[in-house]
């Protein structure tokens, strides 16, 4: 379902365990990763994932809170926002 898709962005200093940490939170909440891209630009870790919250075990705000918390532990910035934002701003 299109309106269950969200974009997950992780930015921060590279270290071991970022992908594992973030995807662990998603798995716990039954959020499906549909596509995932990572890049290391110098020391800056960037991960962008398209996720689906349609069958998630928690409401959107709770998923965001869990990801923010994980991000703080990992020392990275984690953002989750509905796909509509990018659809609206980047597509005619």
């Amino acid at each position: 379902m299109a309106d269950a898709r969200a974009v997950l962005t992780v930015l921060g200093a590279d270290r071991v365990g970022i992908v594992a940490g973030v995807s662990g939170v998603l798995a716990d909440l039954n959020v499906n990763i549909e596509d995932i891209r990572m890049a290391l630009l110098g020391q800056v870790f960037t991960m962008i994932a398209m996720v689906n919250v349609g069958d998630a075990r928690a409401p959107f705000a709770e998923i965001q809170a869990a990801l923010t918390s994980a991000g703080q532990e990992l020392g990275v910035q984690v953002m989750l926002q509905r796909e509509e934002t990018f659809q609206a701003m980047q597509r005619i």
Binding site: V7, T9, R37, I48, Q81, E83, F86
Partner: protein, 453 residues
């Protein structure tokens, strides 16, 4: 992946770094049905209706902002002009109605409630006169209320008696709030050709042609534009206009998405997106900085009118494509106190009241948040208002006037308003009196080209 990494990162950068946000989501609400011959009943009905209709505004806006990742700076409500609602009550009842509205605004946790004004371009009703008489005390005693008055239009001309009354009201409001740099005047706007769906304060009101309720949006994206311009140091003006147009599309789309999403959650029709680039005192969120990036030493130097018109027109071109309904003022906002680069330019003597007036002739939405000496004579204030209204009616555009005579301070000193209202140097006003002209009173006819039939 449906989106390239660059697109995702650009969007995020616009919000996190370049200060893109929604300046306001404004719920327009008709309160005509709150009218009652007993003012206590009117006051109660106003409170109940605003509370009921606005109950979800703050939490729903917070949820939408969080889910979309686009911050919303303010939540506001705009009501039917209060002079219409209180017309059946006694002249001295307006403060009671105002207090009730202010309580509702506080209880809802919204930032402002606008519409405590009247439409007087053609003359004053009894209720209009009573409201204006009570206005300074109302603005001094309430926290969140804003008032606007249409005093001129291209069809009706200028109500010079109204201009004089409003100039006096501004001076009184300034005096009553002198302990806070006359901040009461920041909640009062005069208009030529007012619009019914403006989401910004202090001018917002819910016009009588509007539906029961609707949701209007104002976006704030000058920082995004500054960065686009800075990335093109060698572009010519045509190329810059094109680049600004394209980014303005994206900025406006953020507003359109937030507006339509929130309107749906509140169960009200979506009203409009106001395309105006709205600056704030946050560093990097400045229209003045865009002008500097375009190549002006400061906003206000020769070339500023050309630059601001280029910017505003490009924003409109991109914005109109982005939105299903464009409305409100949709012009250039140059509120001196609310824009760090504008207030700096004014403090350096590079941006004058005269230049600010010239800018309103082409693109700017008015003389906005301009601090003037507290000792400015009322007739001079009236003259400044009359000139600005004339620019509006002659150009068939909306212009507003929000002047703040800072009691106890002179040109060169600074006024501190705080929050989104910012801080500003007090600008000198030309000397010489228009008193005899203004005091003739009467109605200045509208321009002949207002007869379009």
């Amino acid at each position: 992946m449906s989106f390239a990494a660059e697109e995702i990162l650009q969007t995020i950068k616009m919000v996190m770094v370049e200060q893109l946000d929604i300046r306001t989501v404004t719920l327009g609400l008709s309160v005509l049905d709150c009218a009652h011959p007993d003012a206590a009943q009117t006051a109660r009905r106003l409170y109940d209706k605003v509370m009921h209709a606005g109950g979800q505004l703050v939490p729903a806006a917070a949820a939408v902002a969080a889910e979309l990742g686009i911050p919303i700076a303010n939540t506001r409500i705009a009501i039917t002009p209060l002079a219409l609602v209180g017309a059946a009550n006694s002249p001295h009842d307006f403060p009671t109605l105002a207090a009730s509205l202010d309580h509702a605004a506080a209880d809802l946790g919204i930032d402002y409630l606008g519409g405590c004004g009247a439409l007087i371009a053609g003359g004053l009703s009894t209720a209009d006169a009573a409201l204006i008489e009570a206005l300074p005390r109302m603005l001094a005693k309430t926290e969140r209320l804003c008032a606007s008055f249409e005093v001129a239009s291209s069809r009706l001309g200028i109500n010079m008696d109204g201009v004089w009354l409003m100039a006096q009201a501004i001076a009184s409001t300034a005096e009553l709030t002198r302990d806070r740099d006359s901040i009461g005047c920041a909640k009062l706007v005069l208009f030529a050709n007012a619009v019914e769906d403006n989401p910004f304060m202090a001018g917002a009101f819910h016009g009588t042609g509007q539906p029961e309720a609707c949701l209007n949006v104002g976006v704030s994206g000058p920082g995004v534009i500054t960065n686009v311009v800075r990335a093109l140091p060698d572009a010519d003006l045509g190329q810059l206009a094109e680049a600004i147009k394209r980014i303005a599309f994206k900025i406006t789309r953020a507003g359109e998405l937030v507006g339509t999403t929130l309107a749906k959650r509140l169960g009200v029709p979506f009203g409009c997106v106001d395309l105006s680039l709205a600056p704030s005192p946050v560093p990097g969120d400045s229209v003045g900085e865009v002008l500097e990036a375009l190549g002006l030493e400061r906003a206000g130097v020769p070339g500023s009118t050309a630059a601001l018109a280029l910017l505003t027109d490009a924003v409109k071109r991109g914005g109109v494509m982005a939105s299903s309904r464009v409305g409100g003022l949709s012009g250039a906002f140059i509120p001196v106190s609310e824009d760090t680069a504008l207030s700096r330019a004014a403090g350096e003597g590079m941006l004058s009241v005269e230049k600010l007036e010239a800018l309103t002739a082409v693109c700017s939405v008015g003389l906005d948040m301009i601090a003037i000496p507290g000792a400015t004579p009322v007739a001079t204030i009236a003259g400044l208002i009359a000139d600005e209204l004339t620019i509006g009616i002659m150009n068939h555009k909306t212009v507003g006037v929000r002047l703040i005579p800072v009691v106890g301070k002179q040109a060169g000193e600074w006024a501190e308003f705080g929050g989104l209202l910012g801080r500003s140097p007090i600008l000198p006003v030309p000397a010489g009196s228009p008193a005899a002209f203004i005091r003739r009173g009467g109605r200045v006819p509208g321009p002949i080209h207002g007869l379009r039939n």
